[in-house]
Symmetry: C2
């Protein structure tokens, strides 16, 4: 019998009623002729509540013990779901990460799966049971409980599907992947398909439907991933390798982020290592900078802009003050009202002119862009936040997103 | 260095503040020159709350999965206590039942410890760590999480002490073992010592300070058990083998129980197996009967009395109705206002006259007793509940409890 791995996230299992509903869906799916392995997250806000509790003891709690605590959330959901399945007459078994054979490295709170021994899962499936696996967790070689970090249950599900050589279904609280987030562009179209590469770019740009790491595993091991509403009533989106059956689009998606600010430092002396001085100070304070642009040097001086998370504003101000001690001539400015807009599409590999088309949209609509950076399948712009809605509508219309 | 196993119960760890206080006590104890292994229960009412949650899904939830859920309570406490110890600068490690090497049989929700592999505990102790073990749980041979039932953390602690060949300290919310529960007899004296045999009798009679099973393990493996308040500020009680240093007392303790009712069935026909018919029906319905008394047969008929838990009243009424179909002549009565008073003491083995002394107390004080049963080191009476306080005071005074 074909196997299917499913994953239900925290909002899908946040109450006993929802757990009972999902048990019904799983039984239906089993009856349609599949062996089922379902990965579950902790109920609702359980993980955050557990973290809050540990913060009352220590600002930096022991990570090994934090993993022991956090892993209980998924362990409880998996057991409750099995109780519900059995109450409905369906044999089932709950497995912790350890019992599911998931071994990880020792990096507590952000471990990586090293291997999955699927012997136990195969045995339980052969006995006709539905298997419910506690997501987000594993065990290290010395027997410590580990967790996989944010989005860990997605990773558990896709890794299990890779090992069982079967498709993976991620059930969540959105209907699938949209070209543009429907909360910011209500006319956005749901995609039937998206390639792994496009989804990785969109996910790393902030489309938080599925963890980037899970897509990377799916890509590496050729696992077809299906994302849909946990009610199972609407058609979702397949993430898979690009093939010709997929509609040929230049741009697949557009992502928007308001979480960055833009720093511009003008009049940086080129000769005395002024630039490297700036970036090494940013790196020392762990400030995660993203888009960097720089003008060509004029008279020994350059102008530099970069984006960074808004919550690092104070740290950056301090760094600028420090820089002014040795480089009195610099002039710095921090702009907070900026928005980063990125377009992603495999079509950009072969079709040029996307950047030009967007420049044209900006010009005809009086949208000033401050920075532009490009990679093989994406282009990102920073613009003034006041122009955000106009830019989204014009680009989405132009590329039929 | 000498090892000490400690156990802290649910009320001792019910808040983060209490966990922090206990961390201080453990560190003090370690500094006084001992290697410490501490067993903890789930915080406060956690276990009951988890059971409530499962009841919303199923009246009889899958026991394997119930164990997966219940075990998380102790797992969380152990990790929080380690976080607190580390925050105070003391190296420590939390171990689940599985990580502590505790293997049990497969009887979910009431498992028995089969063995403890103490290799990991020895290793961690040799590295100077305090070890916090999640009580109440273990792992079966096929890798399932199991729990040990009510009082399971006591059992974990005493079994660990047996295996590590060291004393066991049970910290709880009472100051130690009293001859009579101080809530019902305020003048009761705390005992400095009590023998395993006496404590097993008292515990099975309802003195719920420590699980009977834990004392039995202590008795079997000669583990000295010390019971005291979790603040560590008052002298508690040692449970150990009887030796001559222990004060010579005829009666060590008195226990009182109001949780039973008494059933009397008169005119039971002796010849047609009437008696066995009654007790087999009680056994079929899992009614736990305790004190049984029977008169000698007169004219082919006997009168029988027995005690049973008050919550089985309805079941017993039904059984009596059934019995009347085949034995029309019986007359039955259920008395709910009865109290069971038991006296326990090793001295009874050698000193006769305890029963006579108590009969005398009852006679001179107008206390009517309905039943009496005896074992080697205990005598139990059922009396009318209205006479309870008088009986307790008179017996406690007479035997200086």
């Amino acid at each position: 019998m074909s196997i299917i791995v499913q994953k239900y996230g925290g909002t899908s299992v946040e109450t006993i009623d929802k757990i009972n509903s999902i048990a019904n869906l799983i039984i239906e799916r089993k009856k349609s002729g599949f062996d089922i392995v379902t990965v579950v997250s902790a109920m609702g806000k359980t993980t955050n509540n557990l973290i809050e509790m540990t913060k009352k003891i220590s600002e930096n709690p022991s990570e090994r013990e934090l993993d022991m605590i956090l892993s209980t959330g998924e362990q409880i959901t998996s057991a409750l779901l099995v109780m519900s399945l059995k109450e409905k007459g369906q044999d089932a078994i709950a497995l912790t990460g350890f019992q599911a054979g998931i071994t990880t490295d020792e990096k507590h709170t952000k471990s990586t799966i090293l291997d999955i021994n699927i012997k136990n899962i195969r045995k339980q499936l052969s006995e006709g049971k539905i298997i419910i696996v506690a997501g987000f967790q594993g065990i290290s070689h010395n027997g410590d409980i580990t967790t996989l970090g944010r989005g860990g249950s997605d990773t558990t599900a896709v890794a299990l599907a890779a090992k069982l050589d079967c498709p993976c279904e991620i059930y969540t609280d959105v209907e699938g992947i949209y070209g543009v987030d429907p909360r910011i562009y209500p006319n956005a179209k749901k995609l039937d398909y998206i390639s792994y590469d496009e989804m990785i770019e969109m996910s790393s740009l902030g489309a938080n439907v599925i963890a980037t790491r899970a897509i990377e595993i799916g890509c590496k091991y050729h696992v077809p991933i299906y994302i849909a509403l946990s009610t199972g009533k609407h058609k979702g989106t397949y993430i898979k390798e690009y093939d010709k059956s997929m509609e040929s689009k230049v741009i697949t998606g557009l992502t928007v982020s308001d979480s960055d600010l833009m720093v511009t430092i003008n009049n940086v002396p080129y000769r005395i290592g002024g630039i490297s001085n700036i970036f090494s100070k940013l790196s020392e304070r762990d400030i995660n900078i993203d888009m960097i642009s720089q003008t060509a040097p004029i008279g020994g001086y350059v102008n530099i802009s970069f984006t960074a998370p808004k919550d690092s504003k104070k740290l950056i101000s301090n760094i600028i003050d420090e820089l002014k001690i040795t480089m009195k001539e610099i002039r710095a400015d921090i702009e907070e009202n900026i928005t980063k807009i990125s377009v992603v599409g495999l079509g950009m590999r072969t079709q040029s002119g996307v950047a030009a088309k967007i420049f044209e949209i900006f010009a005809t609509n009086n949208i000033e862009f401050k920075q532009v950076t490009t990679s093989e399948i994406r282009i990102s712009y920073t613009i003034d936040t006041k122009d955000k809605d106009k830019a989204i509508i014009k680009i989405a219309n132009e590329f039929k997103l």
